[in-house]
C-alpha cells in the first residue's frame, strides 16, 4: 500500500516527475498523430477507392477493351439476378483537353460512362458540383449552353428548368445556415459569388425582353471535368470556378484498333459542353479525368460495331464492366460467382469470337474493387507500418528519458530509501515503489498525450490553415502529393488505446533498471548517503 501512497505523493510533489510525464505525453501525442493521419489516409483510400468503382470489375488492362460485354450483361441478368444488381460498361482512353479561346491544354484520361447507370454502382454522382445545387440537370447527352438574364431588380435569373431544379434543392436542403448564407439572390448562394456571372453568363438586359434566360450555341455532348483539372483550389479546400457552365471544351482523341494500333487519321476532335465538375477527393483522379457519354465515345473511338470488308460486323468493345452486387452479398462470394459466370459465358460463345476477340476476352480479369486498388492500398499499408515503427523507435528515446529521470530520482531519494528500509520496507517493495511511480507517470503521460493527440488530429486542418495563414511555406499537406485535399481527421479508438498502453508499458520498462538499483541499495549506505 505504501508504494502507491508514496508514488502518488512523489507524483505531485516532485518537479522532475513532470519531465517524465512531459516526455511520455509528447511521444504518445506524436505517435498517435502519425498513426491517425496514416490510418486515416489508408481508410480514406479504401473508402474513396470503393466509391470510385463498383464491387466487381471486369477489366482487360488494355486500351483496346473487350467485346461481348452486352451479351455478358444479359447472361448475368438471366442467370444471376439474385446476386448481381446493376451492370454498366465503361470506356477509358487518353486525350488532350483544351479550353477554346484560351491556351489552356492538358493531357487527360477520358472516361466514357452512362451517367445514370454509373451513379447506381458507385458514389460518383455525390461529387458533382452543379448536380448538387441543380439536381437532375447534369447529363452527358447533346445540349446547349444555359444563359441567364438580369431582371428589373438586377437579379440573375436562370432558364426555367435550372430555376426549378435549384428550387428543388432549396426545398430539400435542411441546413438553414447554408441556405441563408447569401440572401441577395437564391442562386448566388449555390454559386458562391462573385463568380456567379462567370458560372452562368448573364445577358446584360433588364426585365428580360427577348434576350432573357435561355440556351445558346450548338448542341454538343456534355463533359464532366475533374475539379482540379479546370479550377483553382482555394486554401479552404473549395474551388474558384472561372469557366461558365455550358462553356465549349475541345477534346482530341486517338482511336485504337482491336489489335492495338492507332487508327485515327487525323486524330478525332470532339467539341464538348462543360456541364459539371467532379470531385472524387483523390487528386490524381480529379486532376486527370474527364467524363463523357459512353455511346458517343465508343462511336468516336470506333469501338462500336464496325463493318468488315467481308460484310461481317465487329463486336462493340468497352474497357471495363462495372458490376454492383445485391446488398448482403459477400464481396469474395460475389467475385467467385461472377468469375465462374464469366468462364461459363466464354465457353458458351464457342467458335463465335474471332481470333483477336478471343485474345481480348482471355485478357479479362474479374476483380473486386479491393483487388483493383490493392497495389496502392498495400503500398500505403506498408508505409503506415514503416512510419509507425520509425516513430515508435523515436519513442524509445522517451523510454530512455524516463529511465534517466528515474535514475536521478533514485539518486536524490537514496536517503529516503534507507529510511524506508530501516522501518521494514523490502528490496522488492522499494523497487515496486519506483515502478508504481513510473506507472503513474506513464498513465498521466498516456492520458495527456492521447488527449493532446486526439485534439490535434481533430483540428489538424484548422491548425494547418492557421499556420498557412501566417506563412504559406508552413502548409505541409499538399493535395498534389498526398492525393486527398484534406488531412484525415479520424482517430481510431483502438490505435489510441494501443498507443496509450504501450506508452505506460514503456514508462514502466524505463524505470526497471533504476527501480532495481533502488531495491538493491544497502540500508546503511543509504542512511549515510550525503
Amino acid at each position: 500500500m505504501y508504494k502507491w501512497f508514496l508514488a502518488w505523493r512523489y507524483l505531485h510533489t516532485k518537479l522532475i516527475a513532470f519531465f517524465g510525464i512531459a516526455s511520455v505525453t509528447l511521444c504518445v501525442a506524436m505517435v498517435l498523430v502519425v498513426m491517425s493521419v496514416m490510418g486515416g489516409f489508408l481508410d480514406t483510400i479504401r473508402e474513396r477507392s470503393r466509391g470510385l468503382h463498383s464491387e466487381i470489375v471486369l477489366d482487360t488492362g488494355t486500351l483496346q477493351g473487350f467485346p461481348y460485354y452486352e451479351e455478358f450483361q444479359q447472361y448475368l441478368q438471366d442467370n444471376h439476378k439474385d446476386v448481381v444488381s446493376v451492370t454498366t460498361p465503361v470506356i477509358y482512353t487518353y486525350g488532350i483537353f483544351r479550353v477554346p479561346a484560351t491556351t489552356y491544354t492538358r493531357p487527360s484520361r477520358v472516361v466514357g460512362m452512362r451517367l445514370n447507370e454509373y451513379a447506381q454502382v458507385n458514389d460518383f454522382k455525390q461529387g458533382l458540383h452543379y448536380e448538387h445545387y441543380f439536381p437532375g440537370t447534369t447529363r452527358l447527352g447533346p445540349q446547349r449552353m444555359p444563359i441567364g438574364g438580369i431582371d428589373d431588380k438586377q437579379r440573375l435569373v436562370l432558364p426555367a428548368d435550372l430555376e426549378a431544379a435549384n428550387a428543388r434543392w432549396r426545398e430539400s436542403e435542411t441546413d438553414a445556415e447554408k441556405k441563408s448564407e447569401y440572401t441577395a439572390h437564391p442562386y448566388e448562394m449555390a454559386m458562391y459569388p462573385p463568380y456567379v456571372t462567370t458560372q452562368y453568363p448573364a445577358n446584360r438586359v433588364y426585365a428580360f425582353g427577348d434576350e432573357g434566360p435561355g440556351y445558346v450555341g450548338p448542341e454538343n455532348s456534355g463533359v464532366i471535368i475533374g475539379c482540379d483539372l479546370l479550377n483553382d483550389r482555394r486554401n479552404d479546400g473549395d474551388f474558384d470556378r472561372h469557366l461558365a457552365r455550358g462553356a465549349d471544351i475541345a477534346l482530341t482523341l486517338m482511336p485504337i484498333s482491336p489489335a492495338g494500333n492507332v487508327t485515327g487519321e487525323p486524330p478525332v476532335r470532339l467539341p464538348l459542353r462543360y456541364v459539371d465538375d467532379s470531385r472524387t477527393g483523390i487528386f490524381e483522379i480529379d486532376d486527370l479525368c474527364i467524363y463523357v457519354d459512353l455511346d458517343m465515345l465508343q462511336h468516336k473511338l470506333a469501338m462500336d460495331p464496325q463493318t468488315l470488308a467481308d460484310g461481317g460486323m465487329t463486336k462493340a468493345r468497352v474497357n471495363q464492366l462495372l458490376i454492383s452486387l445485391r446488398s448482403g452479398t459477400d464481396l469474395e462470394t460475389g467475385k467467385a460467382i461472377v468469375a465462374a459466370a464469366w468462364e461459363k459465358f466464354q465457353e458458351s460463345l464457342g467458335d463465335q469470337p474471332s481470333m483477336t476477340d478471343m485474345q481480348l476476352l482471355s485478357g479479362v480479369d474479374v476483380m473486386t474493387w479491393e483487388d483493383l486498388q490493392r497495389p496502392f492500398i498495400q503500398a500505403v499499408e506498408k508505409e503506415k507500418v514503416l512510419v509507425t515503427i520509425l516513430f515508435s523507435l523515436i519513442s524509445l528515446v522517451a523510454m530512455a528519458l524516463v529511465g534517466c529521470v528515474f535514475y536521478m530520482i533514485v539518486e536524490k531519494k537514496t536517503r529516503d530509501i534507507g529510511i524506508l528500509k530501516a522501518i521494514g520496507a523490502s528490496a522488492r517493495g522499494v523497487a515496486g515503489l519506483f515502478v508504481a511511480y513510473a506507472l503513474a507517470v506513464g498513465i498521466c503521460g498516456a492520458v495527456l498525450g492521447t488527449t493532446l493527440g486526439v485534439v490535434f488530429v481533430w483540428n489538424i486542418n484548422d491548425i494547418q490553415a492557421f499556420l498557412a495563414a501566417l506563412n504559406p511555406q508552413l502548409r505541409v499537406w499538399s493535395p498534389e502529393v498526398y492525393s486527398f485535399d484534406k488531412i484525415p481527421e479520424i482517430v481510431n479508438t483502438w490505435d489510441a488505446l494501443g498507443v496509450g498502453v504501450v506508452a505506460v508499458l514503456a514508462s514502466v520498462a524505463g524505470s526497471i533498471i533504476p527501480a532495481t538499483i533502488a531495491g538493491l541499495i544497502w540500508p546503511v549506505k543509504a542512511l549515510r548517503y550525503e
Binding site: 505504501y2 505523493r9 529510511i419 528500509k421 530501516a422 522501518i423 521494514g424 523490502s426
Partner: protein, 237 residues
C-alpha cells in the same frame, strides 16, 4: 531479550580494510535503558546497525528473544525491523514529502498488506494521533518536516519508531543534533518511555546523556572496554 555474540565487522576503504568491530558481545534485558558510549569512529553506530539488522556482521550473531536475527530469512529480518525494533536517528530522517501524521503512520503502512490496510486504516490513524499526543505534537499533525524545529522533528522520529509498539528502541545519538535544552527534553521523553517499559539502546558520545541510562557500555577501537551499571538498573537486579 537481546544478546549480541562476538560481533565482527570491517569495511573496505579503498584497498585497505578497516576493522570497525572486533568481537563485541553484549546483552540487554527487557525494560533496560542501555547506553553505548564511545568516541567518533569507535564503532558504536555500526554496532547499533547490526543490532537492528540494518547491516550484516562479518562474524557473530544477534539473538532476539533467543532467536538468531541473521539466520532468519530476508523477509523475517524486514519484519524484525518493522515490528520488533524502532529506530531513532541523529538527523531525524523523516520523509520530507509527508506530513507529520503520515511520517508516523508509514511503518504501519509498510507492515500491513493492502487489503488489510483498508480495514485497519482508521485504527492506524488513531494510533498515530495517540503517539503524537504522547510526544506533544498533536497540534502539528498536518505540518511537513521542514516546518518543524529540530526538537519537534526528533519527537516525530520517536513517534514513528514507536508506532508499531516495538520491543526495542534503537537510538543513534538522538540528541547529537540538538542544543542542550532541547536535547534534555528529548532525553526526558525517552526516559518516560523507558519508565513505561520500553527497552532502549542508545548510542552517544556524550557522558552527560549517559547518566540517565541503567547501564553504560563503552566501546573503544571496536571492542567493549567497560560496562558500568547505574542505580536501578535491571542488570543489577
Amino acid at each position: 531479550m537481546l544478546r549480541a555474540h562476538n560481533l565482527y565487522k570491517s569495511y573496505a576503504m579503498g584497498r585497505a580494510s578497516v576493522d570497525v568491530l572486533s568481537g563485541v558481545s553484549l546483552s540487554a534485558k527487557a525494560g533496560e535503558f542501555l547506553v553505548i558510549l564511545g568516541s567518533s569512529g569507535s564503532g558504536k553506530s555500526t554496532l547499533l546497525h547490526l543490532l537492528g539488522a540494518l547491516d550484516i556482521p562479518d562474524r557473530g550473531d544477534v539473538e532476539f528473544h533467543g532467536k538468531s536475527v541473521f539466520q532468519r530469512t530476508k523477509k523475517s529480518r524486514e519484519d524484525y525491523r518493522n515490528r520488533e525494533v524502532g529506530f531513532v536517528f541523529q538527523f531525524y530522517h523523516l520523509l520530507p514529502e509527508l506530513t507529520v501524521l503520515e511520517n508516523v503512520i508509514i511503518p504501519r503502512l509498510i507492515g500491513t498488506p493492502t487489503f488489510k490496510w483498508l480495514s485497519h486504516r482508521r485504527e492506524a490513524k488513531k494510533a498515530a494521533h495517540a503517539m503524537l499526543d504522547r510526544v506533544g505534537l498533536s497540534h502539528r499533525v498536518k505540518h511537513r518536516p521542514n516546518e518543524l524545529s529540530g526538537g519537534e522533528r526528533q519527537r516525530v522520529a520517536i513517534a514513528r519508531a514507536l508506532i508499531n509498539e516495538p520491543t526495542l528502541l534503537l537510538a543513534d545519538e538522538p540528541t547529537g543534533n540538538l542544543d542542550e535544552k532541547i536535547g534534555a527534553e528529548i532525553l526526558e521523553l525517552l526516559t518516560e518511555f523507558n519508565t513505561a517499559g520500553q527497552t532502549i539502546i542508545m548510542v552517544t558520545h556524550d557522558v552527560r546523556v549517559a547518566v540517565r541510562a541503567h547501564r553504560q557500555v563503552r566501546l573503544t577501537g571496536g571492542k567493549i572496554e567497560k560496562v558500568a551499571a547505574t542505580k536501578g538498573s535491571p542488570a543489577l537486579a
